[in-house]
């Protein structure tokens, strides 16, 4: 047996050994004697793995695909279709056609799926924002949900103070406020090393959550419910949900345009340069701290925007929005999609929301496993494909042999 296989088997055995006590046994408390006994519980163990079934299937599929790829050459038809896809990317009609398709979905998607679509859209806004600091500039942010919740709360409080405030009037201010908050939080922290920054942002999100839970005006644990007039309103024959979808879609398209333009400008290049090598970037004239602050502020602004959209869509905001879990989900989307790549994060958001949600309809207990699976994805992606599913392959050509 070759060494690689032997090591893998030993590794699996070792993993099994250290996880076995927790999975295959349960604790039996004797309350009178205040002792505890360990009882084998096969059914518990089996149930545990049932929840992980989709992960195993996916991993097995990837593994098989990899093995097959090495053994079977891609048939000519598949190659041709791959080339056709690549050509279509250059087709100028692609974007308008896609746009038409997406907008028309307002009419042919049912309520449940429209809801999913809006949620995906809001995640896309968040992922696009986080992509700017973490993906493009290389600053790990663990407390992204703090800015997201800030946006929701900012709008919720505003519509309490100004009754009847329409959402579109508050939007630019919420965006701006998010940016300013990001700038303020970044100011003392961006000089710090990468891991310190991550912890500080986490602390910020947690503190924000505590604050929202404890203040009167923010409604404590229950949060704030929005007045009906401040949510997305039906208009032009569309109902509330449909107009939610249209506005979210519009926001995503505009955000993609906005970020795309900045990404392909001197500023975008500066961000990536900072990610690649901060000292070299600085020595080449890039004002590193200022650029980092800009990235941070923009990220926070998009998060706040997404927060307001959520508030307007579901009708309330609560402290749970700022939870670490939220930050992790968006982070996983950016990582899976590809750091820095705009189509990548759009893909990542879609996959990481739709797949668990659709699976949940089939396997109801899977929602418990959601975070576990995200964690596994993060580790696996870093090990095998750190550039993500649709990594930013900007201008990557393999150098021709011999030149």
């Amino acid at each position: 047996m070759n060494r690689g296989l032997r090591n893998t088997l030993l590794g699996c055995l070792g993993l099994f050994a250290i996880t076995a006590p927790f999975i295959w046994f349960r604790l039996d408390y004797n309350t009178t004697a205040q002792t505890v006994e360990l009882i084998p519980a096969l059914s518990k163990g089996v149930k545990f793995f049932q929840g992980l079934l989709p992960v195993f299937i996916a991993l097995a599929a990837c593994f098989a695909w990899q093995r097959l790829q090495k053994k079977i050459s891609i048939p000519a038809a598949a190659q041709r279709s791959g080339q056709w896809l690549a050509r279509q990317q250059q087709n100028p009609l692609l974007l308008p056609a896609a746009g038409l398709l997406l907008f028309s979905a307002t009419f042919w998607l049912d309520a449940k799926n429209l809801n999913y679509a809006v949620t995906v859209g809001i995640f896309m806004l968040q992922a696009l924002g986080l992509n700017i600091t973490t993906g493009m500039t290389g600053l790990l942010v663990l407390g992204y949900a703090g800015f997201y919740a800030f946006g929701g709360y900012a709008f919720a409080i505003a519509q309490i103070l100004i009754p009847g405030l329409p959402w579109w009037a508050a939007l630019p201010f919420v965006f701006l406020a998010g940016g300013i908050l990001g700038w303020l939080v970044g100011l003392p922290c961006l000089r710090l090393r990468g891991d310190y920054l991550a912890i500080v942002t986490l602390g910020f999100a947690e503190s924000f959550r505590e604050l929202m839970r404890n203040l009167e005006i923010t409604g404590g644990d229950k949060g704030i419910s929005l007045a009906a007039s401040s949510k997305f309103q039906g208009m032009l024959g569309l109902n509330g949900l449909q107009s939610s979808y249209v506005f979210t879609l519009l926001a995503v398209i505009l955000s993609v345009f906005f970020i795309y333009r900045i990404y392909h400008s001197a500023i975008g290049r500066a961000w990536i340069a900072i990610r690649e090598d901060e000292i070299a970037a600085s020595s080449m004239g890039v004002p590193v701290v200022r650029m980092k602050l800009l990235a941070f502020a923009l990220s926070a602004a998009f998060a706040a925007l997404a927060g307001q959209f959520t508030a307007c869509h579901v009708g309330f905001i609560d402290p749970a929005s700022s939870a670490f879990e939220q930050s992790v989900i968006v982070l996983a989307m950016v990582i899976l999609g590809g750091m820095g790549s705009i189509p990548g994060v759009l893909l990542g958001s879609t996959l990481l929301y739709l797949i668990p949600t659709l699976l949940r309809d089939q396997f109801p207990s899977i929602s418990d496993y959601r975070l576990l699976i995200f964690g596994i994805i993060m580790v696996v992606m870093m090990l095998y494909r750190p550039q993500g599913l649709w990594g930013s392959k900007r201008h990557q050509l393999e150098l021709k042999a011999g030149s």
Partner: protein, 300 residues
Amino acid sequence: MIEFLVIGLTRGATYALVALGYTMVYGILGMINFAHGEIYMIGMFACVFAIGFLSTLLGPGTAALLVAVLLAVGLAAAYGYSNERIAYRHLRKAHLLAPLTSAIGLSIVLQNFIMLSVSKGKIDFPRHYSGPLIETTFQIGSTTITGLQIAILVVTLLVMGGLFYLIYRTRMGIAMRATSQDQRMASLVGIPVNRTIATTFVIGSALAGLAGVMIAMYQGVLRFDSGYSMGLKAFTAAILGGIGNIPGAVLGGLIIGLTEDATSHTIGSDWKDCTTFIILMLVLILRPRGLLGERVADKV
């Protein structure tokens, strides 16, 4: 007054144990092991499971406790080793974000693993075992000190003594210090770098596991997310003392323990966590190298 001191030092000792793991890994790999707090949590749960295992085999008895502690520490060390092998070893040369992200992913996996396989809520530490230690008390003036607190302090002292001996007087310790200074050079002079790094993880995780055992006995309750807040506090302690500096981690842990205790008694225990966070912010912003740390320049 003495009571405050004892409580603060007891907790501080446990923070120091976990902080040592952070600081050792940082010293040798230059990264913050986000999943370290979860090792502490695993130590807690492993102890209860080990007690259950032994008491099923041998019936309830005090000897079971000692063996269980050793098993728990061993299991925590095994988890630490697995973490290193699976998630960090291959990412040593990668861009800084990769090992950090991997660590976060790992931390999430471990937390959710325990949540799904053991309990979503809290579980109790069987009082039959910790009872005797807690009920044995000593009087100093008007203060009552429990045997458990003394045990924690004594064990921590002994363990730290052992660690210092290891680091400064044995070959493995020299290997660890050499690898933390210059990995390439260490391997060129024949130091087995992979093994040294793995050993560092194992030792750090064993310490964290031990801390978990002690707090499990002290608090009596375990939760799958205990690692999160301990992680943050121990991390603060390591940073406060100077990340990478071993005596610093001990100093930092004790300071955090005492400060927390002081806050508890003056402002109120709800604000405990807040104090630690404020300390972290202040240190990171005003003196990022901590109390005993050295300024390390980037090699250009």
